[in-house]
C-alpha cells in the first residue's frame, strides 16, 4: 500500500464549511445596526454643485446637503425653512429676513447672513428665475449675523416663490467661501447645513452616493405639517445610499427582492408587477402630474418662422395617440390642451380651441399657405429615451400621414441636447422640430415655466419671439391679487398658444415605488423627490 495518507472526506467537508462560515462572518457590514435608506433615483449623482447645473439629480443632492430659506408647500405657497421671521414693507419694496437659531454648516461653522447673501448672489447670476429676481433687486445686504435685507427697485410679486422654488436650480445656502466660486465653475466641496452630510470619501460617481445624518440639524417643529418642501423637516434615517441602477428591470427586481427600499421612477410598464409584489407599494408623487410633454418648433427657419406654419402643426396632434404610446394606462395620464399644468391652480383652457380637430390634410394645406413646398423638415429623433422616443415617433407618423417630407434624424438624447442649441438652418446642422418634456410643478407657474417664454434670442431653444407673451409674463410677476394672476395666466396661455410657443401633447404622472413594510413618512412631492422625514422600521 502506498504510504500516502488517505483523504478523509467528512473532515474535508467540515473544514470547507468552517472556511465558508468564517468568510460569511467577515462579510457583515460595519453599518448593519444603522438605519440605512437605499434608494434608486432617476439618475446618478455626478455633479455636486446644484447651481452649476440644472440637472434634477444635482438638486436632489443639493436639497439633502444644503438648506433653503423657504420651501414651497403642495399648493406652491412658500413657507419659511431657514428663515425664522420675515417682514415686508407695505410698499412691497423691502424684505427683511431673520434666520433661525442653531443653524450650522457640516464643518461646524455657524450659518450667517454673509453666507446667505453670497449664496443668493451666486444663484442670481446663474439660474433663470434668480436672474429675473435680481434684475429687480436694488440692494441685498446683511444687517447683522442673523438678519438680512433685500431692497427692490419695484414691487416684484415673486420674491418668496423664487426663493422657495424647486424646479431647475434651487436657491440653496452654501458657505460664503464656496459661494464665492464663479457660477460657471463647479463648487468642489459639498458642505451645507441641510439634514444630511455628504460622505465624499464613499462617493463612486456612476454607482453610489452616500449621505449620513446631520445630528446637529435643527429640525423645524413637528407641529408644522410636512408638505413638499415646507413644514417639519428632519433626518429620519442614519444613512442614505443613493444607489445607481441604470437598468430599470434590475432596479425593479432589486426592490421586489428587498435589496433597495425606494425606487423613484419605475417604468410605467412595470406598475402592474409592482402593484402585486409583496411589501411593495406605488405612490403618487404629488397632487400635480409630474410630466408635461412638449413639441418645440424652431421659430428661426421656414416653415415655422411663419405663425401659420406653426399653427398648422396643431392639426397633427391627437394627444390620446401620444399618451397611449408613452403611458398606455389612462389611469396615469391626462389630456391637457394647455401650456400651464392642468390641475394646477392656474391651469385654464385659454387657447385650447386649437386642438379641436385632428386633420392631417388641413395641416398640409396650412403649411403650403405658409410657403412650404415639400422641403425636408428636420426632426431630432431621440432613440434612447423612455418617453420622448415614442412621442417623437407618433409625431413623425402623423407628419408623414399628412404628406410632409420628414427628415427624421435618429440620435441619442445627448446629441439632441447638443444639436438643439444650434441656430443654423436645418441643412447646415440645425433643426426644425424636437420633442421634450418638462416638470409639472415648474409648468404650473407662468414665470417659473421658462419654456413658456418668448424672449427671442435670449430664450430657450426654438427661440420664440413675442413681446406680448413677455409682457404678460412680466405682468404676472408683478400681480399681487389671485384673481389678477388667474386672468393674466389665461391671457398669457391664449397668446402663447396662438403664437405656438410650443405644442403640448398631454401630461402624465410618474409613480414612485417603495417598500411599505420598511418605510414610513414619505413626503410626496412632484418633481424633486423628498428623502428627509422618512423613517425605517
Amino acid at each position: 500500500m502506498h504510504p500516502r495518507a488517505r483523504i478523509s472526506w467528512p473532515r474535508l467537508g467540515l473544514a470547507l464549511a468552517a472556511c465558508l462560515a468564517a468568510a460569511m462572518a467577515t462579510g457583515t457590514p460595519a453599518n448593519a445596526q444603522q438605519k440605512v435608506l437605499r434608494a434608486v433615483l432617476h439618475a446618478d449623482v455626478r455633479v455636486l454643485d446644484p447651481i452649476w447645473t440644472t440637472q434634477t439629480i444635482a438638486n436632489i443632492h443639493g436639497m439633502l446637503v444644503y438648506d433653503t430659506l423657504f420651501g414651497n408647500d403642495a399648493g406652491m405657497q412658500p413657507k419659511p425653512q431657514m428663515v425664522d421671521t420675515y417682514d415686508i414693507t407695505e410698499d412691497k419694496l423691502v424684505y427683511t429676513f431673520t434666520l433661525r437659531d442653531k443653524l450650522k454648516f457640516h464643518d461646524g461653522s455657524p450659518v450667517t447672513t454673509k453666507d446667505v447673501v453670497a449664496s443668493l448672489e451666486r444663484w442670481g447670476k446663474k439660474d433663470g428665475v434668480g436672474i429675473r429676481l435680481f434684475s429687480f433687486v436694488d440692494k441685498l445686504e446683511a444687517v447683522d449675523d442673523k438678519t438680512f435685507r433685500m431692497t427692490l427697485k419695484k414691487p416684484y410679486g415673486m420674491v418668496l416663490e423664487s426663493l422657495g422654488k424647486t424646479n431647475s436650480s434651487v436657491a440653496v445656502i452654501m458657505r460664503a467661501q464656496d459661494a464665492a466660486t464663479d457660477p460657471q465653475q463647479q463648487v468642489k466641496e459639498a458642505i451645507g447645513s441641510g439634514p444630511f452630510k455628504f460622505a465624499k470619501d464613499e462617493w463612486v460617481p456612476g454607482s453610489k452616493a452616500v449621505y449620513v445624518k446631520n445630528a446637529d440639524y435643527p429640525s423645524r417643529p413637528s407641529s408644522e405639517k410636512a408638505e413638499s418642501f415646507a413644514g417639519s423637516k428632519f433626518p429620519g434615517v442614519d444613512r442614505i445610499e443613493l444607489v445607481w441602477i441604470s437598468d430599470p428591470q434590475t432596479a425593479m427586481s432589486a426592490l421586489i427582492n428587498g435589496e433597495i427600499d425606494f425606487y423613484e421612477n419605475p417604468n410605467i410598464d412595470f406598475y402592474p408587477i409592482l402593484e402585486k409584489a409583496r411589501g411593495v407599494k406605488l405612490m403618487r408623487t404629488g397632487t400635480l402630474d409630474s410630466t408635461h410633454g412638449m413639441i418645440r418648433l424652431n421659430h428661426l427657419h421656414p416653415p415655422f418662422n411663419n405663425v401659420k406654419g406653426r399653427q398648422a402643426m396643431y392639426y397633427l396632434i391627437n394627444q390620446e395617440n401620444f399618451l397611449r404610446a408613452i403611458v398606455g394606462d389612462p389611469k396615469y395620464y391626462r389630456i391637457c390642451h394647455g401650456l400651464i399644468t392642468c390641475g394646477s391652480p392656474l391651469g385654464n383652457d385659454g387657447g385650447s380651441h386649437w386642438f379641436k380637430e385632428y386633420n392631417p390634410k388641413k395641416a398640409l394645406q396650412l403649411l403650403k399657405e405658409a410657403g412650404y413646398n415639400g422641403e425636408p423638415i428636420t426632426v431630432l429623433a431621440a432613440t434612447d429615451h423612455a418617453t420622448i422616443t415614442p412621442a417623437t415617433q407618433v409625431l413623425i407618423q402623423a407628419m408623414r400621414e399628412a404628406g410632409i417630407n420628414v427628415d427624421a434624424q435618429s440620435m441619442d438624447w445627448g446629441s439632441v441636447v447638443s444639436r438643439r442649441a444650434k441656430k443654423e438652418p436645418p441643412a447646415q446642422g440645425g433643426w426644425n422640430i424636437f420633442v421634450t418634456t418638462t416638470g409639472g410643478v415648474g409648468s404650473a407657474n407662468p414665470v417659473l415655466h421658462t419654456w413658456l417664454g418668448a424672449a427671442c434670442d435670449k430664450g430657450l431653444f426654438g427661440w420664440p419671439c413675442d413681446a406680448e407673451v413677455e409682457k404678460l409674463r412680466s405682468d404676472y410677476a408683478f400681480a399681487l391679487k389671485d384673481e389678477e394672476k388667474a386672468k393674466i395666466a389665461r391671457d398669457l396661455q391664449t397668446r402663447a398658444m396662438e403664437q405656438v410657443v410650443y405644442i403640448p401633447f398631454g401630461q402624465w404622472d410618474q409613480m414612485l415605488a417603495y417598500r411599505a413594510d420598511r418605510l414610513e413618512g414619505i413626503v410626496p412631492n412632484t418633481g424633486l423627490v423628498v428623502l428627509w422625514n422618512i423613517t425605517k422600521k
Binding site: A23, R46, V204, M411, G414, K458
Partner: protein
C-alpha cells in the same frame, strides 16, 4: 526570450499612440456636447457657450490634444468633466469589480468548457457530443442580457438564493464577494463556455486522430491518461489562443453584464461616460483597455513556449 519580451513591449508604444490619436479625434467628431448636458434642460445657448468656455472645450482641438497628451505622459489622465474627480481615481475605483468579474467568468468558462469539449471529442458523433454541441449553439445564440434576466428571476427573485444586483469588494469577505459574482459570471460565461468547448472539441478531435494517440491506446494506457496527458496537452495551443481572445471579448461583454447586474465596473463607467460625453474618462478607459489587450496578447504568446516546446522566439 527577454529580448523578445522587450521588443514586444517597445512595439506597444506606437500602438498606444495610434489608439490615443484615434480615440481623441473620433470623440471630438462624434455628435454631442458635455456643456449642453451640464447646463441642463432650461439653459439658453449663451449659457451653454459659457459652460463650454469654462471647461476649455472651445479651445482649438489640437491644443486640447497636446494638453491631454502632456498630462498622460506625466501619468495624469485628466479630470472628469462632470464629477471633477481625477480620471485615474475613477478608473481605479472600478477596476476591482471588472477584474473580479472577468476572472470569475474565465474560471467558470474554462472549468466547464474544457471538460465538456474533451468529453464531446471522446464521444464524438454520439449523444453526449450532440448534447454538448447543442449547448454550445444555444450559448452562442442567447444574448447575455436575456440569460442574465432569467438567472435573476429564477435564483434571486423566485428562490432568493442570491442577490439581484450589486458588488461587494473582496475586503468585505469572501462569501459576500462571491455571491455577487455567481450569477453575472454564469450569464457572461455561457458564451465563452460555448466558444471554448467547441474549440476544445475540434482541437482534440484533430489530436485524437494522430498516430501517437493510437500507439498510447494500443499499449494499454488508461483512457483518462490518454485524453488528459497525451491529447489535451497537445491540443492546448489553440485553446489558450481562444481563451486569450476571450479575455479581449470579455471587455466588451462586461459592459452589458455590469449593466444588467448593476456591477460598478469599467464597462458601466465606459457606457455612462460615452452617454454623458465625458471625454477625459472615455479617453482614459480606451487607453487602459488597449494596454490590457496588448498585455494579454503578450502573455498568451509567451505561454505558447511552455505549452509547445517546439515554439521558440
Amino acid at each position: 526570450m527577454t529580448a523578445y519580451i522587450l521588443r514586444r513591449l517597445l512595439a506597444t508604444i506606437p500602438v498606444m499612440v495610434v489608439v490615443a490619436v484615434f480615440v481623441f479625434f473620433l470623440l471630438r467628431l462624434a455628435p454631442g456636447d458635455p456643456a449642453a448636458i451640464i447646463a441642463g434642460e432650461d439653459a439658453t445657448a449663451e449659457q451653454i457657450a459659457a459652460v463650454r468656455g469654462k471647461l476649455g472645450l472651445d479651445r482649438p482641438i489640437l491644443e486640447q490634444f497636446v494638453v491631454w497628451v502632456a498630462g498622460m505622459l506625466q501619468g495624469d489622465f485628466g479630470t472628469s468633466i462632470f464629477s471633477n474627480l481625477p480620471v485615474g481615481r475613477l478608473i481605479l475605483q472600478r477596476l476591482e469589480p471588472t477584474v473580479s468579474l472577468t476572472l470569475s467568468t474565465l474560471l467558470v468558462a474554462v472549468c466547464f468548457a474544457i471538460p465538456l469539449g474533451v468529453l464531446a471529442a471522446w464521444k464524438a458523433r454520439r449523444l453526449v457530443d450532440r448534447l454538448v454541441m447543442g449547448f454550445a449553439v444555444m450559448g452562442f445564440a442567447m444574448p447575455v442580457f436575456l440569460v442574465g434576466y432569467v438567472l435573476i428571476y429564477v435564483f434571486a427573485v423566485r428562490l432568493g438564493w442570491l442577490p439581484v444586483q450589486g458588488y461587494r469588494p473582496l475586503a468585505e469577505g469572501l462569501w459576500p464577494w462571491a455571491e455577487c459574482l455567481i450569477l453575472p459570471s454564469l450569464a457572461l460565461g455561457i458564451t465563452y463556455m460555448a466558444l471554448i468547448a467547441r474549440i476544445t472539441r475540434a482541437s482534440m478531435l484533430e489530436v485524437l486522430a494522430q498516430d501517437y494517440i493510437r500507439t498510447a491506446d494500443s499499449k494499454g494506457l488508461a483512457t483518462r491518461r490518454v485524453l488528459l496527458l497525451h491529447a489535451l496537452k497537445n491540443a492546448s495551443v489553440p485553446i489558450v489562443t481562444v481563451i486569450g481572445i476571450g479575455i479581449a471579448l470579455l471587455i466588451s461583454g462586461v459592459v452589458i453584464t455590469e449593466t444588467v447586474f448593476n456591477i460598478p465596473g469599467l464597462g458601466r463607467l465606459t457606457v455612462d461616460a460615452v452617454l454623458k460625453r465625458d471625454y477625459p474618462i472615455v479617453q482614459g478607459l480606451i487607453i487602459v483597455f488597449a494596454a490590457a489587450k496588448v498585455l494579454v496578447n503578450l502573455v498568451i504568446d509567451i505561454s505558447y513556449v511552455f505549452l509547445d516546446p517546439r515554439i521558440r522566439y
